[in-house]
Amino acid sequence: MLGEGLLKGLAETARNFFGSYAGKDRLTTLQFPEERAPRIEASRNFPFLVYDGADPEAGLRCVSCFICEKECPPKCIFIEKSTDKKPDAVGKQQFYPARFNIDVSVCMSCQICVEVCPFDAIKMDVAFEEASTGRFSDLLWPKQRLAKSNDYYHEIHPTEAAGVDAELAAARAKAAAPKPAPAAAPAAAPAAPPASGGAAE
């Protein structure tokens, strides 16, 4: 009979309509500014720079190696190398970025800069309420705005940060040891992932 399916459909929408007043399972919307969904650990938005310790200038892990700038597909990273050197996360004397800008109006959140960084200095942020009224000035983020502490990194991506910290600690220990015994090095090398090897360099 013509119209049977129509009635079925009407019944379904009616069930949704009245069910939305009865329980939460038919009203799945979150009222955003007041209610927030629990954060998903793997979510990502724009990159930020990690620093260790309390001082964003001194603790910045970035050594301005320009790899991320070269790899960035939309070319939204601009780095200016410093003239002097400062100790990096491992303790070695390195250059640091005098300027580090990301144009977030161009950034496409591809995470390639994070993949290629040998120093675990750039990571993906989860903050998304970044709207601003300045079309040009407010969307070019300088180093000061990009720098966020390691604690913040632990807060947003705990498992990932723990892994990074372990590697850095291993690298620091390796750098601190004067000359490791030749027997120990080959045993550690295959076990360590290649990233740690690069970081220790």
Partner: protein
Amino acid sequence: MSAQTVDQIFVLIKAWLMGHVPIAFQPIASAILSVAPVLVVFPLLFAITTVLERKGLGRMQNRYGPNRVGPYGFLQPMADGIKSLTKEDIIPRSADAVVHFLAPLLLVLASFLAYAVLPIGRNMVITDLNAGVLFFFAIGSMVELAVFMAGWSSRSKYSLLGAMRAVAQMISYEIPLVLSAIVVIMATGTLSTVAIVDKQAVYTHGVAHWFLFTPWGFVGFILFMIAATAESNRSPFDLPEGESEIIAGYYIEYSGFKFALFFLGEYLGMFATSGLAITLFLGGWSAPVSFLTWIPSYIWFFLKLLVFIFVFIWVRGTFPRLRMDQLMGLAWKFMLPMTLLNVFDVGIWHLMPHGILRWIVCTAVLILPAMLLSRTLNRKQKLQTRTYRYAD
């Protein structure tokens, strides 16, 4: 105050006000006093309906509707109105400026004119025309012209496509609309809306003589509502608007207040056709059972209208849009035969003696062909390769 007074309160107020007007101005004062409430109440109902519609649709799609402006979002139409009033009124450079300007005015004018013959309550009608129902359909046909003017004058392909779809659809569905209304005219023997309601506001065994409670009335009502939905371009017959295909159809090139006027006209048309359906089949302002007649007549009318609005929203939240050939197929292959059959059926009803036999015969006359027809139409059709006459 007796129930009688409450029922007639607006009529009494008007009579009292008219007593203060000098004789020379009485005709025009009477006209203003009759028209002004309609000009206030139905746009207000439009404002409320937009909120209710958005909230209702939201609930059907497992979300809240608008709930930010004012308590429970009920001030949303105010915000929308202010927004559309303050927006820039853009007229495309290649548009036909005069026709472009006139189209929304004609649409709203035609939509408002239709209320002239709707009895909103007992003794509450602007004019009791002798040919009221005919007037309603004549005014309804002016809407088509307004839609065409809007679509053509914009000089945009989308709007022209939308206008062509709208005109084709409205012309096709006007025939079932009029034919399904004719059964009531046949049964009452009058075209006057007031007389039609008066014929239905009588009770036997406490139940009103609504035409909905007869087999032909029930079928006629359903057919009328399908045609009315198509006529007012509501989902699932919203091909002329089709946001996902032709963006907004014939009013895509309108902005600001004129765009709001198109919305107003569309909703007013929907209320007016619902009002006519109430008048023709649901006894207008009369109560369904005699012990509820103490409720004022205008409240009954607006209660019924609200139910209609809810059903319109419900249908919009449920059904997907039809394809053009399905639309035309429904009009010409299903609606038209069924309405003609219904006209035949009301003749049988009129000629047979009262009793249970009349019910059985009339129901059978409608049900059997409907089942046959739906079986024929539902039969799996063989798909054939499409040929395009104009595209290549």
